[in-house]
Each structure stands twice: as C-alpha cells, then as structure tokens.
Symmetry: C2
Subunit: 222 residues, 2 copies
DNA sequence: CATAGTTTCATACAACTGTTTGAAAAGCAA
DNA sequence: TTGCTTTTCAAACAGTTGTATGAAACTATG
C-alpha cells in the first residue's frame, strides 16, 4: 500500500458527486472522471460500486456518531451525569446541521452525503442502516435521564421530530429560502440549531393531550 | 380515444411501483409488466418516460393542493374568515398524512409517490416543483391571519417544521417503529396528525428567544 | 362491406451501465 | 541490474436502459 492517492481521490470525488446530485444519476464514469483516475480503479480498490458506497457510508456514519456521542458525553459530564434536554438534543442534531450548512466544503459534502444516504435508500446502505437505531437508542436513554417524568413514547416522538426538522432543513434549504423570499436566514447555523432544539424541547416538555389543549396552554403563556 | 384502459393501467402501475421502490430502480419494463401492456405503449401514450412521470406528478400535485385548500377554506369559513392555527396546520399536513398512512391502497400509492417525488428529485419533476412554493404561500397567508402577532419569519419556520415532521414520519415509519419497539403507534393516523399539529402550534405560539428560554417557559408550565 | 384512423405488438436499436481482462507501467527488494 | 508484486490503463464485455420502427390488430365511420 504505497500511497492511498487513488483510493482517496475516488472516495472524495464520489462523496462530492453523490452529495450534489444523488445516487441515481452519478455513474462510476462520472466519479473516475472527477477523480482523474481510471475506470477500473474502482473495482480494483473497492471490489464493486456497492462496496464503494458502503465504505463511504460506514466511514461517515461512524464519524458522525462519534461526534454526537462526544458532545453528549461532554454535556452530561458538565451537568454531573444529567444533561439539560436542550444539550442532549443539540448533541443529536448539531453535528449534522453544522456539517451540512457550515463553511467547510469537505465536511459539507460528507454531511450532505449522509443525508442523501438516509433518504434515497440504495441497497448497499439499506443493510447497514439498522445500526443507526442502536445509536439513536443511546440518545433516547440520555433524553430519558434528562426528562425522567416524560413517557417513553413522547421521548421517541421528540427525538424523531428533532431529526425530522433538522434533516428537512438541510435537505430542502431551497424551498424555505424561496418561500420566505430570503427572510429565513439559513446561513446562521447556530440559530437554526437553536430553533430546532427549542421546538423539540417544547414538544418534549409540553406533551400531554391533544392539539387544542397544547395550543390553549401555549396561548396562555404567549 | 375509445378507452383509456391502457393509459390508465400504465399510470396506476407506475404510481404504485414508484411509490414502493422509488424512481431509481423502476424501469419502463417493470411498469408495463405490472400494467400488462406492451412496452411501446408508454412512448405511444406519453411520449417518453419523463413525460409519464411529469403527468403523474402534476395530476397528483393538483389533487393534493385542491384537497388542502378545500380543508383550509372550510376551516376559515367555520371561523368566520379566521381559522384556528391548528386547523390551518391540519389542512396543510392532514391530506398527505391521511393519504399515506390511511387504509385506501390507491390513495396510499398516490401519497407515497408524492413523497418520493419531493425527495428523490428527478429532472422532469424538478422543473415543475417551483409551483409548490406558490401553493404554500397561501398557507403562510392563512397562518398569518390566524396569528396576526406572529412574525413572518416564524410563520415560515413553523410551516416548514410542520411539513418536515409530517413528511419524515411518513417516509421513515420503519425507523420510529424499530426505535420505539412498536410503542409509537403509527396506525392511528389522526393521533399522528394531532401530534404534528400540536408541536407545530407550540413552535408558532412560543417563538421568542433561544432554546434555553423556551425550555424554561415550558418547564414552568409542565 | 370497405377504408381510414387509432392502438397494439414483437422486435430492433443505440446508448449507457457496472464489471472484467490482459497487458503495460510503476514500485520495490534482492 | 533482475525478479516479483502492486497498481494503472485502454479496451472490451454482457446486461440493461429508454426509444423507434413497421407491420398487425382493432375500431368506427362512410
């Protein structure tokens, strides 16, 4: 293994193209052209297209999960084992949002690739993705520690909604920009994270009953 | 135009297959096999694969929008021109959620197709999709009427989050089911809609400031 | 009936897909 | 250098894709 040059070039180019254009219309020939390597190099270094995608996904998935858990650990340590729910949620959605919408191009490609992977389910990824649930379970546990009085079902829904808002915001930046005619600032990454965390926190801390009741409560304090 | 049999069979089969398996791995041959018609029929009746997809999308898009606006109109009429924000949100997310998760198979295919279309952006759809923004603007206006004191930016974010939660719930039923080990009931469609509407309403009626503050407020009333 | 128009069909086509091949090139130890 | 392994490369492969063709079958009107 003299030098990973070709391998790395393929991975980088593939990640960027998949992030930009999705899995459907990026061919191996597109990738090798962008990477400046020979077509056969993909099969030589990775075995097949699917294995290339799988490697990309596994690498990035582990990195994201590590980053999330790291933030979670710091938050729980700072709170003496029990973090604020906002900080747990921030650890959950922060890395991805910051990654996608932040300034670092490579990180942005990586994060966008992960978003694509979580949506356009392609066979090589579908098999691996089950592990994500185990990872999320750790966050569900942390959330339960932060909100002991909250029911499990509400915890799961809160986690689900937090991810939903974060991912949709990343994925469909364009629509919100157009709809708001630029008035929703999507460059202020921390403000976006704050907003998602705030709404998810509200959802978790004001769960009981139906829409009409929650609305009444909310109006009362508004 | 003696009988639309072939045309309709193609449309129905295409919608079902696209809804089930996504655009990427459904070929014209899959579609005509499912429809029980000849391969050339697609090009004869629709011109091209892209035009078939576009027709499918336009038809369904108009139907969904009509349904949404109808519910909105009824809500506003009942409230004397100013509907409750919950009812506006319900008109926005209800049709799609009910369509996707409801019992009617054909409706479910249609709704799932629309979800796919909104995510796996294929060229023929990407061009048309801009009109969706105009449609959503009507809901932003209705929300503004329901919450005159709410800022425009918060309105847009609330609308955005409501759609995000609804769509993600439809799209990734599986993950939430696994994560919660079946404890989150995804068969109770109305409960799901209520939950989405409740959270979005909270987001809209408790907007000011950052996460830490909203959390404090929420705790105080919890 | 005949005939003009519409619709279906089997088949072929060119373009593109991921993968394989075998030889050339490069790297490196002796 | 020699000899062996690793890596690159152009070319070809078999399979699949959307599309086109021209003849056959059908339909309806005169």
């Amino acid at each position: 293994m003299a030098s990973d040059h070709t391998r790395t070039a393929i991975l980088t180019a593939a990640e960027r193209l998949y992030a930009e254009r999705g899995f459907a219309d990026v061919t191996l020939r597109d990738i090798v052209a962008a990477a400046g390597v020979n077509l056969a190099a993909v099969n030589y270094h990775f075995g097949s297209k699917d294995e290339l995608i799988a490697e990309l996904f596994v690498t990035r998935s582990l990195a994201t999960n590590r980053e999330r858990l790291n933030e979670l650990k710091m938050a729980e340590a700072a709170g003496g084992g029990r973090a604020d729910i906002e900080d747990v949620l921030r650890a959950l959605v922060g890395p991805t949002v910051r990654g996608c919408l932040g300034p670092d191009k490579q990180r942005s490609d990586a994060a966008r690739f992960m978003i694509r992977a979580s949506i356009e389910s392609v066979p090589p990824i579908r098999k691996i993705k089950n592990r994500e649930v185990d990872h999320l379970r750790k966050f569900a546990a942390a959330m339960r520690r932060s909100l002991p009085e909250c029911s499990d079902v509400d915890i799961y829904w809160g986690l689900h909604f937090a991810l939903a808002m974060a991912h949709q915001t990343i994925r469909d930046t364009e629509r919100l920009t157009k709809l708001s005619e630029g008035r929703c600032d999507l460059n202020d990454v921390n403000a976006i994270i704050d907003r998602v965390v705030a709404v998810a926190t509200l959802a978790l801390t004001t769960t009981s009953g139906r829409a009409s009741k929650t609305a009444r409560v909310a109006r009362a304090i508004g």
